[in-house]
Symmetry: D2
Subunit: 445 residues, 4 copies
């Protein structure tokens, strides 16, 4: 369902009853031979046809041929050390433009030209993105693929430049082939099917995605927005397919409740920052009455931080210690026990505020979602108790969610303060909650 | 007329009453300051807006600020020699993937990231192409701009990859804003106006162009084709606006009589080869009756070769020597004097055949058009006497034109023989003519 | 879900808290007053705005105001009898063109001009189609609405002329808003949801619909086609979402297994005939290998004919009489009892063949589906036993289905023979089966 | 150039060497025979194909076969008088809905069904519009074609209902095939070529047209608008291709300086009224700063009224009498003689104001352009001296032009006053000028 249809077509075209005897290694070598041909003179004149053939051969590789294929790709298309040495020596002697250019050319992998030529095949770009997706999945155990990845990343970064992306609204007029992909990709709050999706695309919702001309049926990233009358403090009501529709012109608030990167193969090329700002701009234009642009975001790392660090409290809030606290949360029904929940709330809210604003990793906020929005220049506005009561929500953050607010006038200043001084823009409520937990930085990571 | 409309818009937006006192140098510095800002942290969060501002400032530069601007661009965005030295030394010691990547990053100019970020501006790509166009025009006298050019070329090559181009048919249904550009760009056989253009887009003609999504109103390259009943031997009849239309389904021949590269700023990124082959494919599909795909091409360098080399003939054809021959051609009415023309024809045809097939420059055919088509795998088929009687045609080649034939089955073989052995694929007629002139290679360049 | 969205929009705009006291009659009168205004001078200058207002008022009518509204529409916009009398008398005296035109104008209802002006409202056409839909539903009990219906039908026939319809392929690239309507409208073989629909739009299927420019999101009629390797003899396998896809280029047969008229309000304006022929044409072009174009059609009236007529058999096939036969079919599990089913098969197939080819109503085949396809020039090719084992299939035709074959070369001849002489084009198999049942026409209707 | 391309295609398809012997009458009969076939049973099943054949045969008729063809069309497809008589008698006896419908059907010409079926041919609509165009050109001398015309008008009125038209902006992005038609059709102020057209489509201009889906490349009517800074008082400056462009956002005035009906075959179906109001609406939305929407209109009938009526003046303005006045205007250079022009101005302005506001024909303003704009609800605002100095302008109205102002709030009231009481909405300036000329209604028509 989610595989690029080009792959499917190729797979169908290729003869099915593969000779089982033929080793995966030989098949991988076969593909690589076509790659070499594409880089040769012959490739210059028969580029697109040869590129199609080569990608079809790749697409037909059995799963166990992937690693041999990537090994060959890593071994056989790297620049020549001797040439690099010469060019570096020349440049050392004379920093002329010509010597710099010669050195730049010497260090560039022939792989880059190979990837450029492969891209000439009709429908080639999604296949190249797919190669990188599979490479990345196994990169940790194959560090020698790093140079291959660097070459892919270099070209994909150029190709997927913001200037070439189109922002498109996704709604019920969108082709099913694209809608189906939203259902498949949605990572934050799973889409239960077409009825669920239909509500998420109703008149009081907006969904936007970035598309690239070479992947016209496959979004790169998409964001889901609810138009509401106040900043939402819980996500389940927003996801309820039976929620009554609000007239969008009456809304004063836009809640970004889900943002999903679709293409694993484009890891490291960031779109989220650009998308949010563009969407704020579009919404502002369509609905001049909107006053607040805020997320309703998860706190994915809170509970694991709590478990891992078991932070020592200077003054124990509510007379609890960490062990007792965590034990309480093992009770699967804790949130239905009004007394228990009432006692836990101030402690957990306080700890979570501390976690979000103070817990660090390499000097940056430990929470990935916080890092993303603060890095974009948003401000941490409000913690919401029992805001995500899904299994995952309870497990990751004891159900707590955060609103990050995007105020376009402050975004640049916040961003710079964050980058330069690691300063976290947070509201008074959150700062106070964090202070209340009685933890000092020294006692926790 | 031909300037990208984005520039015009920018020019209008920029404050008009420029302070005349302010030196061109200061204005150039101003743009460069915005470029630095775009590369800084601030650029990360305000990319597109800052990029628009920077390109608008560039577009508002007076003509005399261009050189100072390009000088700064060359001086201030190059990689740091010290970092290169360190990375080169590390790589020298250990050719690891990580060291290679580090070296690649060290030698890459910050200019490349700058250009990528500038491209985020809406409508930015055509402005970047325009910067390179103006740089190239003055590159010879400013060799230190070479590194700037290399950075532009590197990125433009990635962006204008064949995989991102669309082949579009141009006809009378095409928007005027595009048709107007054909009139402007046509380089080979000037288009005299809308009536002339209309005939070139009639039912027995085809015109195709490559477009890039970022330049939707500006063709990259276009080709003009006449559907005919035999291989055309003269170009003026094809260009006659009053030529009777042929029913295209009855044609058996497609004559490519003009091919024009439109974007000076994309020099070095070749589209012609790809375009011709794609167009042969499209025409084949639309008109299965077509048997021959041939050009009607100029011989731009014949006369200047003749004048320059004044070749010595072993056996003087027709009792002529070079001096007499060239003197005859000084008579502006030579072609109207039947006797004279009749005497000149065998000599000139013979010499021209020799020139096309034997005259070399760096081991390749001296004639640029011949190099292009032979390099694409075409075969030199026929010389045509008095085929282009325009002033330019007579001046450049004494009116002679050539048909190059594209036979898809032979294209790859011809190309490889040409590249590997400099073998020129030529018909018996041409080979015989060349032999007839009694010149040996030794006597001419 | 299926209501034109225009209606919804209108309904929302109209003030909600309707005065409950105000009678339906008064509201209907209100709409009619706007209709009169639209027909007046004022309507000439403020046409579109007034038409929108009038249609919005109509759309806001409560259900119980419909009849009063249609009564007024019938009473107040008819032509004036006195004027008709005068014009008829003049024409009687002199059949001049001018007198004919005057008479034509005298008999034309002002309602027609009213409907034309209402159509000026943006999105007006679907509302007018909707008025007729609701009128038709209650026409039997309100025969005085006939003249209203005639006026609607006259204009809708002009507007929905074949020349204005577009044939569009429906597939997985079609907007969800249209696909959703297929699910809603499909009348013959219910679509169980999006997964079911997706299989029906896979590579070995085709779905085509007619659209009118004024209803861009709402098909008028659609047809579902399966590409297969032989003429299908049962429908459930075709509808199985898990059926393996066939490569469409290998198919030699196109099975039309469902055709659905979507717009009740366009009753009497036939599209089916046109659609089938156009689709045969399109399929032929896309898949030149296709040899057979056939339906897999229900026999909706077989069982009710059998029950109603209890036909007397001359020679009782298989020693059965009608009473026994029908009693057997009351057993809900008859088809699972091999013996019983085996005994029933020859009798029912024989009777069904007789019913399809001989049973008449007003001299035409009694079966509506047979009338439709024979009238289109198709030929009745094959009866299929237990071809539709759904509840409805068993109830209506004891599970029997027919293949009608469209052979374009014979279509015109078959149609004319059918219209002129009521001749039924049937295969030898069916003729023989019909003969075998030993019924004479005399004994059955 | 302006003929629908469908016709051309047809003309090409039809065998060229027409048998010269065959009389035009026989060819006309041939077409009519196909028309009868289309109306028969055969036409029901082979509608579109037969309709195409019939229209192709019509399109191939030589010019001298048109009248015989239209004669047959008038004679052979009229309703049957006997059936009309019966239906009229039945209705006389009983005004039932059924009898009314029967009468309506009896008086409807079979020609209407014929025209509906002809329209099924792909590209049929423009051919039908063309038939009516040619019919109208010769209608005066062939009054028996009136009934044919009535049938065409009836259907074309239904088909070209406002609800089916699209307003499209025409600019330099519009396909050349449409722009070319503007050049061809422009009736008021001739377009001199592509350069002239380009200025009329520049940033400070707007051009809008109505299109019908069945004539996608052919506008029905178009209007040209200049965005200016005050109400224009002369047309030649507006038409100057070298006029400096104004930034459209700074304009406060929209001048409608030309409106052209393109389709003669749609005479009697009015679009102008609708177009102006829709364009005012669109401009208002794009440029909220616009304050005045006014025409700059000719006074086509002023001079011929003056010559014809030679009105007697009660108090002779400026001591002139009509004879002297008209004699002065015979001097072709009068407007260049400052003294003469100065003396003529007050007299002619005064007379023209009288003509526009008081001169009547059937109780309506005698001037056609005045009738049109006043009927649309505009107000006559200002007379402009020497506003159109073209030959035609001087000949028709001694160079005078009028501004009619469209003020949307007054349009309906003006229209009703005009229709009900023939009241002319005119400014104080014009009323005063008219009064000044000392003419009473009694003395002039």
């Amino acid at each position: 369902m989610s595989e690029p249809s080009f792959l499917k077509t190729l797979l169908r075209r290729v003869v099915q009853p593969v000779d089982k005897q033929r080793s995966a290694a030989r098949q991988a070598r076969n593909v690589i031979t076509l790659f070499h041909a594409l880089l040769s003179e012959r490739g210059e004149v028969s580029g697109a046809a040869l590129a199609s053939e080569a990608l079809a051969a790749y697409a037909a590789l059995p799963e166990n041929a992937l690693a041999p294929f990537l090994n060959l790709l890593a071994d056989e298309f790297s620049p020549a050390p001797a040439e690099i040495a010469t060019a570096a020596a020349n440049y050392e002697l004379d920093h002329s433009a010509a010597n710099l250019i010669a050195l730049q050319q010497a260090v560039e992998s022939p792989r880059q030209e190979l990837i450029r030529r492969l891209n000439m095949a009709p429908g080639g770009t999604p296949v190249l993105v797919d190669i990188r997706r599979r490479l990345l999945r196994n990169l940790k155990s194959n560090p020698h693929w790093l140079a291959v990845d660097a070459d892919f990343e270099h070209l994909l970064t150029a190709w997927f430049n913001r200037g070439f992306l189109h922002l498109k609204r996704i709604d019920w007029n969108t082709p099913a082939i694209i809608l189906e992909k939203l259902i498949h990709y949605e990572a934050v709050h799973e889409i239960a099917g077409w009825t669920d999706l239909r509500r998420r695309l109703a008149a009081d919702r907006r969904c936007f995605a970035f598309f690239h001309p070479a992947l016209p049926e496959d979004p790169l990233i998409f964001i889901e927005v609810a138009l509401t009358n106040r900043v939402s403090d819980a996500v389940q009501p927003l996801l309820d397919p039976n929620l009554v529709e609000l007239s969008p012109t009456r809304a004063d608030c836009a809640i970004f409740y889900s943002i999903t990167n679709c293409q694993e193969g484009l890891r490291g090329i960031s779109f989220g920052n650009l998308l949010i700002k563009q969407v704020v701009f579009e919404l502002n234009r369509e609905f001049p009455r909107l006053r607040t642009f805020a997320t309703l975001s998860p706190v994915p790392g809170f509970m694991s931080w709590l478990v891992e660090t078991q932070p020592q409290f200077d003054t124990l809030p509510q007379g609890l210690d960490a062990t007792t606290l965590l034990k309480s949360l093992h009770d699967p029904d804790w949130r239905d026990k009004a007394d228990l929940a009432a006692r836990l709330k101030p402690v957990l809210m306080s700890l979570c505020a501390w976690y979000l604003t103070k817990a660090r990793k390499n000097d940056e906020p430990r929470d990935a979602v916080a890092r993303f929005h603060l890095g974009n220049g948003a401000r941490m506005e409000r913690l919401n108790w029992l805001a995500d009561t899904s299994k995952r929500g309870l497990r990751n953050s004891a159900g707590i969610m955060v609103n990050y607010v995007y105020h376009l006038d402050d975004v640049e200043r916040n961003h710079q303060a964050f980058v330069a001084e690691h300063r976290v823009a947070a509201s008074h409520q959150i700062t106070k909650l964090a202070r209340g937990c009685g933890l000092s930085r020294a006692s926790a990571k």
